[in-house]
Symmetry: C2
Subunit: 355 residues, 2 copies
């Protein structure tokens, strides 16, 4: 194996007839360097194709970068929010020797107060960067304003608030995800099968993203004229509690026995599929996210499609972006949409293994 010697600062110094300190000054343009030497050094760097060794740099720097994440809590170990959290933690672990230190905070989706409280704790911590799932819009904006005052960069994941000064948004293109759901559901229905859209939202204020998804879904049917022979209704349920959901569904199904396809706009599709199984209904179901209950339903055939927005990947990307921003001063793309994975019974296992 032939040794390929990488060029170091010393090589550059020798080539340019200066000491390593002067090279350092040029690289970080710190301190004064005479124009003649500066030019020569720059030429030397280019000529020798010098790239600072990231390991040595990080080691010498000895700096730590604290990242705080603020996501909804995952009481049950396997709910949706455990997934981006896993991605964040895996990625932070990978970069720990590079000085990345992660502190993960959680808020309750039922309690704006908890968000505000945790946000304040983060602000007091004075981190180097923040990863935020901004599901409470108003409170999130207050939070990010405070961060901006302290010059702390922040990244939104999973949900976006437009026109903020976030470093980046990493997450799904919501409208499109609805459109894809429409296309997929349509492909396994007959022309005149009725469709039900189920939205589960706690409060009206912080649920705008649900309407965007529904919009996309309906757009598929409208733009392809698949609406003539069928009804497409939507049902909004203000809870995710199983018994209450069941009650609402029962009410609806009795009045609308023609429903053959159901689209659930959040990760709770399994509630509908379990309802179907319990009542021996054969409706097709499509929903979001690879959480445990959904996976089980997908495998037993009571859910037909899941769309996954790569939550583990989202979390990992966010950490990676902040790392690149800290170390390389690389400003990330403002919006990074994640792939919308189409999951069926036959390929679900491959996704579980690789995340």
């Amino acid at each position: 194996m032939s040794k390929i010697k990488k060029t170091t600062i010393q090589d550059v110094a020798k080539y340019a007839n200066v000491s390593s300190g002067t090279i350092d000054r040029v690289i970080h343009n710190r301190g004064k360097v005479s124009p003649a030497k500066k030019k020569k050094i720059e030429e030397a760097i280019k000529h020798l194709n010098f790239n600072p060794n990231l390991l040595a740099r990080t080691l010498a720097l000895g700096k730590q970068f604290m990242i705080c994440s603020l996501l909804p809590e995952s009481v049950i170990s396997q709910n949706y929010w455990s997934l981006p959290r896993r991605g964040i933690m895996q990625s932070a672990e990978k970069y720990k020797d590079f000085g990345i230190v992660l502190e993960a905070y959680e808020y309750s989706l039922f309690d704006e107060e908890s968000f505000v409280k945790q946000a304040q704790i983060i602000i007091d911590k004075n981190p180097d960067g923040v990863i935020l799932a901004p599901l409470f819009e108003k409170e999130s904006i207050s939070f990010t304003q405070a961060l901006e005052e302290k010059n702390i960069p922040y990244i939104f994941i999973d949900a976006n608030i437009p026109d903020q000064n976030n470093l980046s948004y990493i997450g799904p293109e919501l409208k499109n995800s609805g459109y894809i759901a429409g296309k997929l559901l349509n492909s396994i229905l007959n022309m005149n099968d009725d469709i039900l859209i189920v939205n589960m939202v706690k409060g009206i204020e912080n649920s705008s993203h649900v309407w965007v998804i529904e919009d996309g879904f309906r757009e598929f049917f409208d733009s392809n004229n698949y609406t003539n022979d069928r009804k497409i209704n939507s049902l909004t349920i203000h809870t995710t509690d199983e018994t209450e959901v069941t009650r609402e569904l029962t009410k609806y199904y009795i009045k609308n026995p023609g429903v053959k396809g159901v689209f659930v706009t959040n990760s709770k599709a399994h509630l509908i599929s379990e309802f179907h199984r319990a009542h021996e209904l054969d409706g097709k179901v499509i929903g979001f996210d690879l959480i445990e209950e959904n996976i089980a339903s997908l495998k037993n055939g009571s859910i037909d499609f899941l769309i996954s927005q790569n939550p583990v990947f989202q979390g990992g990307q966010a950490v990676q972006m902040l790392f690149d921003y800290f170390v390389y001063k690389k400003t990330p793309t403002e919006i990074q949409y994640v792939p919308l994975d189409i999951i069926i019974k036959e390929n679900v296992d491959f996704y579980l293994n690789s995340q």
Copy 2:
């Protein structure tokens, strides 16, 4: 930002009342250490939760790891094999400061001789690890035998040869990919639409994987009794040259005008979809891989589904695995199936951006 001091070898040394050299001996079990001290040191490591700093270790080690890859050539910049190559190169670039050096070799799919020749060059290079797409089975086995004699680990990607001593196989589960194709194609066909399977293989010997895919495809229809009202024929074409393919297709379509769905078992689905467009046929098409021509056809609607086996990811994983093997002595899982991404017009862009 509170500084979180990581425990170092010196901390462990102090705690266990020995010098750092002895710690080193325990960690790498090199040299002799008295049982008493050894026990104490191990306790200290656990107690202080010591993890060697990867950066410092790599820097001090100063070792280089040469990885040679051997894949089919990509004459056109955008054919399929450029994708795993990109993954390999990106990943190698990422790890270059860790001593990873990549040399990429290519062979012609039309020429076993070129494979043998390149393989010999790699053997003479005496690399630390090899990434191989073993499309020529016989020649690949000779190659890997030579590698084994020199104790060089190797990884198969994209295609597998069973019962070899490869460190790992990273690639698709072929039979399943055919099954998924069947399911998807069926979802957009009517019960009595005829189906055509197109295999393009150069020689009989090295094309067994194509039959596995076809098997999986047919299994979907057999196991679901979707075969009664339709014909499912397969057409084998011994070239990928466009004019010849067109001629074969023309011959077939004239004799079999009922074809409404086409499954292409390699990355050349665009040849069929272009044929359809040219002759104003409205058959549905499903194929493999996000290469440029397929993407174009998908977007203009002449291909309906593509299944992507994440070639960029495959390449990246292979490098990552070898790195982990070199540095952490981590033996990878023997088989790592990659996700089979289902790509439609509406989500293709998200996949292009993130790979």
